[in-house]
Symmetry: C2
Subunit: 246 residues, 2 copies
Amino acid sequence: MSSASGPGREPLRYLSKAEAEAIEKELLEDYRFGRQQLIEIRGHACAVAVSKAFPLPSLPRKQPTVLVVCGAAQIGAVGLVCARHLRTFGYEPTIFYPKRSLEPLYRDFTTQCEKMDIPFLSYLPTEVQLINAAYNAVVDAVLGADAEPAEPYAAILATLAHVRIPIVSLDVPSGWDAEAGGSGGISPDVLVSLTAPKRCARRFRGRQHFVAGRFVPYDVQKKFELNAPEYPGTECVVALGGPRRQ
Amino acid sequence: MSSASGPGREPLRYLSKAEAEAIEKELLEDYRFGRQQLIEIRGHACAVAVSKAFPLPSLPRKQPTVLVVCGAAQIGAVGLVCARHLRTFGYEPTIFYPKRSLEPLYRDFTTQCEKMDIPFLSYLPTEVQLINAAYNAVVDAVLGADAEPAEPYAAILATLAHVRIPIVSLDVPSGWDAEAGGSGGISPDVLVSLTAPKRCARRFRGRQHFVAGRFVPYDVQKKFELNAPEYPGTECVVALGGPRRQ
């Protein structure tokens, strides 16, 4: 076990959009990581982060319910995988996935959840009190680093902005710019940065910030000067500790 | 935390070949798990099991070396993924992969290891003392449940039968029949059963037996009466404890 922000470590790197895209390209094209593989690795890590942030015995509600809201793009597929692993960890995830991607890769991740009897909501209650009462937390896998929220996502984010239960955002809080961050909109309690934090994470003011990038090859970490935190044991995520770095 | 063999649990199921194939078919065809996804999940779990059986601080050699021997079929690809994760866990894996599959899926897993600068041996020393001296353990990802060892595998297994360092076999010890087990040949110290133990695992007399099947959907576990052990926390593997069940 070692501190993620111990003395002598270079400060953690916060990626620009261009850097994040360059790393992803290198992983896919040079290292030949598969998209299915990366989504599986990341979704699993997100589920582990959720379970660290909200351990089963700590949940305020009798049922270990979690609402996972998934967009149509890749971050939504990460959310689906997260929901599947949460189920195997003993949680009771419910998925809201308003625009299903027709891409076979994403369809398969959806089928896995459906066949595992994870319930899918057909609409999101606009009455936030219903969400507050039903779930212990919300996983925000709506937009990630993708830009402007078109419908139906704008309305969904407007609802999520008013829920009182904690929100876990995957990679980039939905509606935030990956570099500039966001004002108004949702304020997640927990952020799970995938690969490495994006610049917007500097504006994160929530309770816990996890990084899920242990799988990133050392040479890629070095080339992009990620200065990744040290992951204890075989953990796939690490919580950043100490004072927030600017 | 709970015992994998606590009171009141039905005994763990040891699968026939036909049952193991039926489960795999159901995962791939009904649940739409991807092959890349399953290999990634399993290889990761095997690396976690290796790190539990041989924690970094416990290794007898100064360098945390592990030799991973991979066959051409799917279990070999699981070995490649295991090696990759061992690298990120701080081990120094070396791969021996004498017959490389031309299948793009397996080629990609190979490229990931090559690009991560994991060394590949061009031949396996027939002088076992060289293997004993160089590595802390050997991961056997040679044949898995596949039948008869043709060349070059027969010679490799003959060498591995004489090494004195511990062997970790993935799924089925190479050269063993998945149901009947094996006499002579290799005697692994550690067995990592994938999905669920095969019948041959009843004849395993080594030190530790791990099961890596947490990802298996509950309905599949129930249908095939796997009576899976309980996985603590978010662990992807569990060590079977207590007296060996027959």
